[in-house]
Amino acid sequence: MFDWRWDFVAEIMPRLLWATGNTLMAAGIGYVIALVLGLFLALGQRGSNRVLTTILREGIEFIRSTPLILQIFFVFYVGPQFGLVLSPWVAGMIAIGLHYSCYLSEVYRGGIESVPRGQWEAATALNMTRWQTYKQVIIPQSLPFALAGMGNYLVGIFKDTPMLSVIGVYELVHTANAIGSENYRFLEPYTLVGFIFLAISLPTAALVRLFEGRVRSKMGMN
């Protein structure tokens, strides 16, 4: 069909699978950075320092409303202008991790805000410190509310990793570009990349929903 060549598919598959590993690694590292940094951003926004809160809010808003691809270029090219050379991987992980940490901080904030006020009051009555209250009372209870958003952004970060190809990270799209221009055949590499994305993101999304349902029923919700 349409000049589809299976022998070419067999030839390029090992390279694409190797690149899939890189894509998954990029998504994984980016997601871990986003998970951790996002929590700090969310807690920082709830602090009592007005100036810090405003700066964080506006900064998050800025990063959320500008294109990730532009941020990737910015991080990668602005460093060398000031004598700081970053490798594609480092620049890419900073950009994608920072971008998604802003999204995740909003998810956490929503989750934390949906924990009833009475929980805070009860923790105060028990003479718990602010940190203890977050760690032992608030965050565990906010998790079920935050899980759906966290899962969506896991799939989201995975689907955004192709943008790293522009600064030379060897993930799936970068590899497909290379295969395409070496062989003057774009049909198979791009189509296979599409199928690989589907084959990973659809089951992941389904698993996330399953897990979310499990946690919610375990916490006695619905």
Binding site: F2, D3, E61, F62, R64, S65, T66, P67, L68, I69, L70, Q71, F73, F74, Y77, V78, P80, Q81, F82, K159, D160, T161, P162, M163, S165, V166, V173, A176, N177, G180, F186, L187, Y190, T191, V193, G194, F197, L198, S201, L202, A205
Partner: protein, 221 residues
């Protein structure tokens, strides 16, 4: 070179780039909204073939990357005999992608319209099409506008990807200026600020206004 000097020198190119970004935004938004509406109605249809077409469309476009879709439209479609000009390929890919996300918003909003509204429309003998158009969709529109505000910001950001197939949008101009001057902080920084202004001070206030206006129109505010 300070940011002001930079803007004074390069504003014509940044302006053309911004104009192209805005044009891409409107074209892909129009396409995306149309696709979202059609796919949502198809997914709610009682015909299995329509339902499955919509489900496949939505899952394929939501399950893969916009960049992969863009490359596919631009590099692979010509092999099937459809050579598409790059600007067209750009807004087609972005619009089709957003349409898939939008379809789920439309579907959710239609389903969340109270049961009584459907029954009342049936009771006064409205045809299904008229009921959808006159009763259900206006109320669904009010419910889904806030979510569309976020989706349209995603769309605006998504248009930046077309620079990778050399469409001369704002991102592309920033990249070109960076390539010839090596003033990366100024070039990319200015572009970031322009995208921020478009999203935060034009698109968001407009959507807020639209939300209020629509809510008033159906007597909700």
């Amino acid at each position: 070179m300070t940011l002001l000097e930079f803007v004074a020198q390069y504003w014509p190119r940044l302006l053309t780039g911004t104009a192209n970004t805005v044009a891409l935004f409107f074209l892909s938004a129009a396409l995306g909204i149309a696709i979202a509406l059609v796919m949502a109605l198809m997914k709610l249809s009682s015909y299995r073939a329509l339902r499955w077409t919509a489900i496949s469309y939505i899952e394929i476009f939501r399950g893969t990357s916009l960049l992969v879709q863009l490359y596919w439209v631009f590099f692979v479609m010509p092999l099937f005999g459809f050579t598409i000009e790059k600007f067209t390929a750009g807004y087609l890919a972005v619009g089709m992608n957003i349409g898939a996300y939008g379809a789920e918003l439309v579907r959710g909003a239609i389903l969340s319209t109270p049961r009584g509204q459907w029954e009342a429309a049936l009771a006064i003998n409205m045809s299904p099409a008229k009921r959808m158009w006159r009763i259900i969709l206006p109320q669904a529109l009010v419910n889904m506008l806030p979510a569309w505000g976020n989706l349209l910001i995603e769309l605006l950001k998504g248009t930046a990807l077309v620079s990778l197939i050399s469409v001369a949008d704002l991102m592309f101009e920033a990249k070109q200026i960076n390539g010839s001057t090596f003033l990366s902080a100024q070039a990319f920084g200015t572009a970031l600020i322009i995208y921020y202004v478009l999203a935060r001070f034009i698109l968001t206030p407009f959507m807020r206004w639209a939300e209020r206006a629509m809510a008033r129109k159906i007597g909700k505010a």
